[in-house]
Amino acid sequence: MRNLKANLLELVRRTSAELPDDVVTVITSAATQEQEGSNAQYAMNIITSNIDMAKLKSAPLCQDTGSILFFVKAPKGFDQLAFEKVAREAVAEATARGYLRQNSVDSLTGKNTGNNLGPGSPAIHFHQHRGTRADVRLILKGGGCENVGAQYSLPDVRLNANRDLDGVRKAILDAVIQAQGKGCGPGILGVCIGGDRATGYLHSKEQLLRMMDDVNPEPSLSALEKDIVISANKLGIGPMGFGGATTLLGCKIGALNRLPASYFVSISYMCWAYRRQGFILNDSGKIVEWLY
């Protein structure tokens, strides 16, 4: 755990201020697709300047620095309690330094804790794995996009969506229609088919850890991911919902087993300010690789 606090503080700073290269690449390419002089192009130009400026100033890309979601894969013997303690210290310090906004509110009293600490914040998901290194990833997910996430229980009469991939497609496209510009599009979807209501949403968020240009190893899901992006972009909702060519930048779909009685489609919408970063720590606690 040596240097862990400094490493986590740097992870939070980077995640909040710098979009990963794979995300910047798709945004930059999308910016060229909008019509000259359109509201959509205006929005994309401001978005790309903002990405550059946040990195240069080392300041939060978006003022809603979001839910703080850690995903940790750690070797046997890794001290999770010590990690959690240090992570909490790093989050409080990052808040004091302005890398994170004071963003954690007591749901009963309405009082802001002022340091981003409280029940559920930060959220840390631990998994054990073989090997000697720890894989630590962070997603900062803003409230605007979290609010337009949706969970469907199929069959759905309103959508004429059955318990098959065509039904899943109808549910996902409905979520895009419902979100319009409110989730700060162009967005990226993480989707889970199956699971229960809790694991479904969690797995949909884990999809957001995937690289933008990866290929789903399951051919039917890979085809659906591509189809969703193409179809959503035909809807014409566009950046910020101004109308335009790019409504979605990507879609990542995973599947969990379900109960015979349940068929959930859980959709997490990520805004264009797709803040995720991570690193690999070796057994002496040194960062040996940045992951995005």
């Binding site: 939060p60 003022q63 809603d64 919902g241 109308g243």
Partner: protein, 187 residues
């Protein structure tokens, strides 16, 4: 590009049309969920809102060497204020509301009645927009928490798009309608 400069006279606001791209310069007051609920329930505003602009924004503001410094100041989702906004626009003669994601029919109706527009800022563009804040003039209702307080900002060349004008036009309603039509071709 249309320059919208304080004072925000009614005729200037009524001259704006849906789809206009503007650069705003002048005073804006931030106000989001807690402030809207407070004003809607009859709370007395600590600042004079008459002919002013409300910005749906929960900024990151830090005190450095005794001075407020805005670290991030992008818009938050406006739809949450729909139950309150129309009433507040009418009660205080608000001239513009800045936010993101657009608002509903009650707000649109109040915009028409009072002479007010909805200015859509670019969601997530906290740094570009923070650069447009040239001065922090003060803060009130800080007891709601820093992001929920009323911050008085002076802005210069703040970029936004008029997505709801004072003539009953809403880009949000138009895009929603269009996208629903498109969806019918796709499923």
């Amino acid at each position: 590009m249309i320059q919208l400069i304080e004072p925000y006279a009614e005729d200037k606001i009524r001259a704006l049309k849906m789809g206009d791209m503007v650069h705003l310069s002048g005073l804006v007051y931030t106000g989001r969920d807690a402030v809207h609920k407070f004003l809607h329930e009859g709370g007395k505003p600590p600042v004079d809102l008459q002919n002013q602009i409300i910005y749906h924004c929960g900024p990151v503001v830090i005190k450095e060497k005794g001075k407020w410094v805005v670290k991030a100041a992008g818009p938050t989702t406006s739809a949450r204020e729909e139950p309150y906004q129309g009433h507040i626009i009418e009660k205080f003669t608000i001239r513009a509301v800045i936010g993101k994601g657009g608002m509903g029919p009650r707000t649109l109706e109040a915009c028409k009645k009072v002479g007010c527009v909805y200015l859509h800022a670019i969601g997530g563009a906290a740094q570009v927009l923070a650069e447009c804040v040239t001065d922090v003039l003060g803060v009130s209702l800080e007891e709601f928490g820093s992001p929920e307080a009323i911050w008085a900002f002076r802005v210069k060349n703040f970029p936004a798009v008029v997505t709801m004008d004072a003539h009953g036009n809403s880009l949000h309603a138009a895009v929603l309608e269009q996208s629903k039509e498109q969806l019918k071709q796709l499923v």
